[in-house]
């Protein structure tokens, strides 16, 4: 890792950590949701490196969230740490199975197949309502964090800081992954699959492992959302949720691991203020933003970085 990247990472981590103590609680809650969504968006960005657009990351997002809900209900687990680990393992296991099919496909076929899988989960969550609560969903009571049952007032801040730590760890891991040979192979998949095969790597394996890793990320985002919100419902698995992750990824950009996170924070606040100031036309406001972004900033908000750089040179 370059020292400058480390500096940026540490500074944003400390800055975001301070957010939990400084800003009002509803903003902190939005930051929690944004970070969790950012992780799911990062999983989309990860697959985009290989030229794959997933319209089905909500499959793992919902799997993570519902795993936590079932662990609380059926196994009586209350510790957030255990819920996190369990949710990530289950999400990656699901991906290890669906990946067997999906890793063979590219482009629109990959997108459609990933969408199909998430809609299967959505349909099942609706139909098996005596288990899943149907559209009404399931409640997740306040968890314990590090073995402590925090009071209602401090729990929000504790959950936010826990979300931030999880996000930071995930970011560092993904950054290291992208710097590893497998990470480079991922880029090679997008550029030229045939050459990669001639170099002696298995394209299928590269895509498969990236897919499983991305599922773990999305699952982590899902369980963090579930713990923060305290309720899970099938909307988490619906394809529009996956569409939102793609939206966030395009908003932020895919060049850095930080970009989808920035996209998520901007998206969460855009949506909140769109709802506040345009309660009747907030969807149109968001759509307009998307249009402007594609027209003027096709590589996402991350390109603003270069804007400043150019100014400094001239």
């Amino acid at each position: 890792m370059k020292p400058r990247a480390v500096l940026i990472g540490v500074l944003s981590f400390v800055g975001l950590g301070a957010v939990g103590f400084v800003l009002p609680r509803w903003t902190v809650f939005l930051f929690s949701l944004a970070l969790a969504r950012g992780l799911a968006a990062l999983s989309v960005a990860l697959l985009m490196r290989a030229g794959l657009v997933s319209f089905g990351q909500s499959l793992f997002f919902a799997t993570g969230a519902y795993t936590a809900a079932f662990m609380v209900r059926l196994l009586g687990v209350r510790e957030a740490g255990l819920l996190l680990v369990g949710a990530v393992i289950v999400s990656m296991t699901v991906a290890a199975l669906t990946g067997l099919w999906i890793a063979r496909y590219r482009e629109i076929f990959f997108a459609m197949l990933s969408l199909a899988f998430t809609m299967i989960l959505y349909g099942w969550l609706l139909k098996a309502y005596w288990i899943t609560g149907g559209t009404d969903g399931l409640r997740i009571p306040p968890p314990t964090v590090l073995g402590t049952a925090w009071s209602v007032d401090t729990l929000r801040s504790v959950l936010y800081e826990a979300t931030l730590v999880c996000t930071a760890v995930a970011l560092v891991l993904i950054h290291l992954f992208l710097d590893s040979p497998l990470g480079y192979a991922l880029r090679a998949v997008r550029d030229n699959e045939v050459r990669l095969e001639y170099l002696g790597s298995s394209v299928w394996q590269v895509v498969y492992w990236a897919y499983v890793l991305a599922a773990g990320l999305a699952g982590l985002g899902g369980v963090l959302t579930a713990l923060n919100v305290g309720h899970v419902d099938p909307q988490l698995a619906y394809w529009t949720t996956a569409g939102e992750f793609v939206f966030i990824t395009l908003l932020g950009g895919t060049e850095s691991v930080l970009a989808p996170l920035i996209g998520a924070v901007v998206f969460e606040f855009l949506r909140t203020y769109a709802l506040k100031y345009a309660p009747y036309t907030w969807q149109m406001a968001l759509g307009g933003m998307m249009l402007l972004l594609i027209l003027f900033m096709p590589r996402g908000l991350w390109t603003l970085r270069y804007l400043r750089f150019r100014k400094a040179v001239s």
Binding site: W26, F29, H231, D233, L236, Y280
Partner: protein
């Protein structure tokens, strides 16, 4: 000698200046805020906006304006709430439970609303109720149907001023046995999500308890907002049930009604739509005769003929050109319930502005007048309202009212269709409705 007199003079002058004659400013109680800010959360976009969200929003606008002006009839003629004007902040309920949890936090912590009224979707109600409790904000669920809220948990800050969905299902089972005591075969047609599943299960269980030899010949669960129902219509025509239960609403309700009429499903089987009342003013003469409709309580055409209801219907029709539907009535129940509770607490507190705890004390087991009649917060430890329910059969078109007239209207009192306080609906039905008082 002249000094004290001039001081008194100035004092009188100031008094006169501060209360200009001709604008009788209602005195606000001591300790009262300058205004009461209420967060209104209803669907302003999406499929539930047209049938429920917008009629509820319209009722809010109308009532807040009339209440603030003090032009509502007795016992609501005091301006605002206890003299304090009400101001509404509207939020779109669209976006899912997660979004609504975030919005509730923003409403309370940023907008600093004094209380929240809203939530049409049961999923939203279930998700936000624990958060409202955490934020210690008075929250009035006004329309959502699930009975899980106060049967699974108890809340201090959360109230529901309308009845839950169980009254529709039990009421319909009783109505059916009144008009067709020898019914043998029934079928269900419900949207495949919690509302449809709960409505059908409660209806089936209640009917089988009341008449165990009834046979269920078909259970159709098309997906929510399917819009096109030719396969379900064919299946129901083939199954030939004597009676069809449906909890369809909104676009699905209107679409299904229009699609099944030419195929004559309603002539072969008696069909009931539990929230069918909302389509009457919208479809007008396209509503076929001979179908059963309900309004989730004594609302719309089932509302009592009281001065309060006459005023509400007239004011609503004058302003929006259409009569209020049950979502508007539910909103009126919430707003008037809040007003009644605050003013009761105000009186109990010797005219001083009450604390939230005093308002909660006033709300629990409160009885108040609404356009839908007297509402009692009788179950769920005083946090859940009970309502009577009513059904009728569509008859000939009435050009004056611009909708079909209802015949065979029957009302079932609240004690007949609601479980007693502390009893879960499911257990109540299984035990055979102990304590039910029916006409």
């Amino acid at each position: 000698m002249s000094r004290p007199f001039s001081v008194l003079n100035i004092f009188i002058l100031i008094l006169l200046a501060s209360t200009p004659p001709g604008s009788p400013q209602a005195p606000t109680p001591p300790g009262a805020p300058a205004q009461l800010k209420v967060g209104i959360v209803v669907f302003l976009s999406g499929a539930a906006a047209a049938p429920f969200g917008v009629p509820a929003r319209n009722a809010t606008e109308l009532l807040i304006e009339q209440l603030n002006a003090g032009s509502a009839p007795k016992p609501y003629d005091r301006p605002g709430i206890g003299g304090v004007p009400i101001r509404a902040v509207y939020v779109d309920e669209a976006g899912g439970a997660e979004r609504q949890v975030a919005e509730l936090r923003r409403l309370v912590l940023e907008e600093k609303v004094d209380f929240v009224i809203g939530y049409i979707s049961s999923a939203d109600c279930l998700a936000i109720a624990p958060v409202a409790e955490e934020l210690k904000v008075l929250t009035f669920l006004f329309d959502c149907g699930t009975n899980r809220i106060f049967e699974d948990r108890t809340y201090r800050y959360v109230f529901r001023t309308s009845a839950h969905q169980v009254i529709d299902s039990i009421g319909l089972a009783r109505y059916l046995l009144k008009i067709r005591p020898n019914v043998r075969t029934v079928a269900g047609l419900n949207q495949n999500y919690a509302w449809g599943q709960d409505s059908w299960n409660t209806f089936r269980d209640a009917l089988l308890k009341l008449k165990p030899d009834v046979k269920v010949v078909s259970e159709q669960f098309p997906k929510l907002f399917a819009g096109e129902f030719s396969t379900e219509i064919s299946a129901l025509l083939a199954a030939r049930p004597e009676f069809i239960h449906s909890s369809f609403w909104g676009g699905d309700l209107e679409g299904f009604t229009i699609q099944m009429t030419p195929r004559g499903l309603h002539r072969r089987s008696l069909i009931a739509f539990t929230p069918g009342e909302t389509m009457l003013p919208r479809l007008g003469r396209d509503v076929p005769p001979g179908i059963i409709v309900g309004a989730r309580g004594p609302h719309g055409p089932f509302a009592p003929n009281t001065p309060l209801n006459q005023w509400f219907v007239r004011a609503y029709r004058d302003r929006y050109g259409i009569r209020p539907v049950y979502a508007s009535y539910h909103m009126a129940q919430a707003l008037l319930g809040v007003k009644a509770a605050f003013e009761k607490a105000l009186a109990a507190n010797e005219g001083k502005w009450p604390t939230v705890d005093q308002v909660i004390a006033a709300l629990e087991y409160l009885e108040f007048e609404t356009p839908s009649g007297t509402i009692r917060m009788a179950i769920g430890k005083g946090h859940q309202a009970v309502e009577p329910t009513a059904y009728g059969i569509t008859g000939p078109y009435d050009p004056q009212q611009k909708e079909v007239r209802l015949t065979n209207v029957m009302t079932f009192p609240a004690e007949c269709v609601n479980p007693p306080d502390g009893v879960k609906s499911e257990d109540w039905i299984r035990q055979g409705f102990p304590g039910a008082r029916c006409p």
